[in-house]
Amino acid sequence: MNRYDCETIRDLLPSLIRGEMLPHEAVRIERHLADCPACTAEAEVVRVLQATLAPVPAGLETRVLQAVRHRSTRRPTPARLALAATVAAAVLGGALVLNAPDGDGAAQTDVEAVGWAAADDPLLHGSSALQDLTVDELEHLLEELER
């Protein structure tokens, strides 16, 4: 087998070891492994890796389910919504600075630095109207900024 074949085989090893390949394809790869010590060594690494899945801690699922239910049943009070609107406006001001024409590269870095919520936030991507945000999004924004 040449190097070209080895690259293909190594790309497919995770699928082989997860049992996701058709039988005739698996046989073809196993045949290659029988003749190729380098790919066999990589297959062993992939096998052990596949076998070392960290267990999910007991109780985490219950904890997350409770947090999700709590979040979805919370109703924003007028005071919280007003506060959310205020902080969102402050973020919008920051976004306008970040998106200034002469600072695109830096703006992207800064947007990434504030985390996924801000990176995905419509306020940071051109939507300037607070009424475009859902209650969930306002709530989320508020929580992010309260941290």
Partner: protein, 206 residues
Amino acid sequence: MGSCRFNALSGHGIDTSVLRPVAAQPPTPQAREEATVLERARAGEAEARDELVRRYLPDVYRTAARVLGDRDLAEDAAQDAMVNALAGLARFRGDSTFRTWLLRIAINAARTVGRRNGRRREVALSLVENQPARQPDPARQAERASDAELLDRALSELPTKQRLAVALRVQQGLSYGEIAGALQCSEGAARVNYHLGVKRLRELLR
């Protein structure tokens, strides 16, 4: 570049579909079922949201754990990611798989938790290098466990993108396209990170 090479590989009789982006594949029954659950969750159905938590929490937790190298912090990040993702479900536009979208949120949540806690990775390379030589004839299961521990430590030594590419590909079964979506890089970069990671692992474990 990659796709040309993969197309040529079809001549070898090997199904390389796992190397192509998910978007190029027709929806599977599993994908259709997932879309139904997502729609129900979007409509506010609590049971559907619970189902998404049960289905994806293991992937989210393990991904966060690979970013942080700390189980307690990974639990916090996993909870943040699931809560925030489900609260912002309207933002999911279906440009990637839901799992890819969710794992991207998990990675960012883990980074946020890490920054908040001033996380520093503490696993020293010497822990791997100073391991005693493998016993010639231990029980096979014990040897496996030892290998797994060594490998886990070696994995923690990889740069974040390599570590995540390896973990997502091998342990969570993501395609290169999905990994690219989760890591916010190109598919080629995902593939390179995976191969560099596995190569480095082999060197660390030699």
